[in-house]
Amino acid sequence: MIRIAAMADVHFGADAVGSLRPHLTHLSERADLLLVAGDLTRVGDPTEAMLLLDELREVRVPIVAVLGNHDHHTDRAAGITAALRGAGIHVLEGGSVTLDIDGVRVGIAGVKGFGGGFLGACASDFGEPEMRAFVGHTKERAARLEAALRRLECDLRIALLHYAPVADTLKGERLEIYPFLGSYLLAEAIDRAGADLALHGHAHAGSEQGTTPGGVPVRNVAQPVLRRTLAIYGFDDAGNRGPIDLPPPPELAGWRYLAH
């Protein structure tokens, strides 16, 4: 069995030193790899990332991460990425990594993602440059995720995001802020490329379990949702779910949206 530990929204800062380490020291006895779905730091300061790395130093399994919105707050995401990569952590932003775990090829495609909303209540790629930039960013990240998933040649395929791909895992959040918590475009990308599991964070008041329209399990692993340090998901049989036959996105996407 492949055991995948996952957590998100650690929001590590100076006052949290020592709080995480006891829960991770013996992780290798319970899991084969650790996935971190963004918001590793509190305000995106690389020194916070260094403190977190010190907390993770006893972890003996591969670690794969994507950054979250907090990690971008002070425009020093590159410094955070460099610090994490320097410690051997795979940091993905539209890329992928394949790890061999006991002969099973586990592929992880990762992207931060972004907001925009879900069917029936979406922002539209229309109008002011700021609005087009907002939706355009999500479209670009979704396209990167799809491409990264498609590139993977593996037995078990995982999509790692910070923003939510489905509304299921936002239940508990106020409906008004759903468009700032994720986008259906991410789920479309996952379904088109195929995956066995999608993980995300960001929605602290959401729910753990959901499913994409194509049937891919989605888990919100934000620590406030889990109410524990991490979740562990076990796969008996590496399924390598194939792409799901979805129609391509229409050239004119206005029909998708309620409002412009």
Binding site: D9, G13, D15, S19, H23, H204, Q223, A231
Partner: protein, 87 residues
């Protein structure tokens, strides 16, 4: 509860949230704020006890004439970790 659109405290609370979000010691996790009359209530979870203690500083500074109630909880991360099994 008053309609949010007609309650001036709703805008005030929103501005408070913005300031809290910018405050490194107090901004996480999942914090929320409600203002009822001259009472400010801080809700949600904080990552550490230190974070929990400093959380009221921002509303106290911004709204010195309000009574600040700190109803935040410390995020509990000690629960056992079950394994969810995918066949």
């Amino acid at each position: 509860m008053a309609d949010r659109c007609t309650n001036p405290n709703f805008c005030l609370a929103q501005h408070e949230r913005e300031v809290l979000a910018q405050d490194p010691p107090g901004n996480e996790l999942g914090g929320d704020i409600d203002i009822f009359g001259e009472s400010v209530m801080l809700l949600g979870t904080r990552a550490s006890s230190e974070c929990q203690v400093v959380a009221p500083d921002v509303p106290r500074n911004l709204l010195p004439n309000h009574h600040v109630r700190n109803e935040t909880r410390r995020a509990g991360l000690l629960a056992p970790v079950p394994l969810e099994h995918f066949p």
